[in-house]
């Protein structure tokens, strides 16, 4: 997994490339938590995300809760296969998906 961060004032875009699984999810979790201070809009760019398991969903859920308190979180660029996982798990309704 690669994490590419672009910050523009209070907007942070984080592009996640590769696999978000049991092994890599803790890295994304700590990277995001260390980066969101003062951020109003967190955009997760999943256009190069190939795979997500429940470990990745847990990170999204905990980040959504944190961002609800200070602004908004947007998830964009997800593939059809990843959107289907959001659908099955109800994440399609609790995330802001573009």
């Amino acid at each position: 997994m690669n994490i590419i961060k672009t910050q523009n004032g209070e907007n942070l875009t984080v592009k996640v490339e590769g696999r978000l699984d049991t092994v890599t999810a803790p890295q994304l979790d700590s990277e995001l938590k260390a980066s969101i201070e003062g951020i109003k809009t967190l955009t997760l760019d999943f256009s190069a995300l190939e795979y997500i398991s429940s470990a990745g969903l847990r990170v999204l859920l905990s980040m959504q809760k944190l961002m609800n308190k200070q602004g908004e979180m947007i998830v964009k660029g997800s593939s059809a296969a990843i959107l289907e996982i959001f659908e099955v798990t109800g994440f399609i309704d609790l995330l802001n998906i573009e």
Binding site: I52, S53, S54, A55, A81, G90, L94
Partner: protein
């Protein structure tokens, strides 16, 4: 039938996934089915790694029967008696604030596989998933 026996630890996850995906690619499995199977394999193997032998480390066996029509994958461990199918499904309609963290992995497996069978036999948990390809 092919079999892989590994230590049930997160460090072995990539090996377990590679063992299964290699066989799926050999039968030209669709990308969608392959991702669903990879997720199922990860969730079930990681469950064994996290809960079966805690705080010790034990072994897990992954047996595969993969043809152009069907993928059948069996997970065997000798850890604590645990039937993942007995667990109630999480409520997937709740908001972010109300959501519980647990149970999502097994739920994803149940939803994406065509069949899931659990058996406890001779001190071993035997869980088999089947997916039509």
């Amino acid at each position: 039938m092919k079999e892989l026996i590994v230590k049930a630890t997160d460090e072995e996850l990539d090996n377990v996934i590679a063992f299964v995906t290699g066989q799926l690619e050999a039968v030209d499995c669709s990308m969608k089915a392959q991702m669903q199977i990879e997720v199922a394999v990860e969730e079930l193997f990681v469950n064994i790694a996290h809960y079966a032998y805690t705080p010790d480390i034990g072994e897990a066996a992954i047996q595969t029967e993969i043809t152009a029509d069907t993928a059948e994958i069996t997970f065997i461990d000798s850890g604590v008696h645990y039937d993942p199918l007995a667990k109630p499904d999480p409520d997937v309609t709740l908001s972010a604030e109300e959501r519980q963290i647990g149970g999502l992995g097994i739920y994803m497996v149940k939803k994406s596989m065509d069949d899931m069978r659990y058996e406890y036999k001779d001190g071993r948990n035997i869980l088999t998933i089947t997916k039509k390809l």
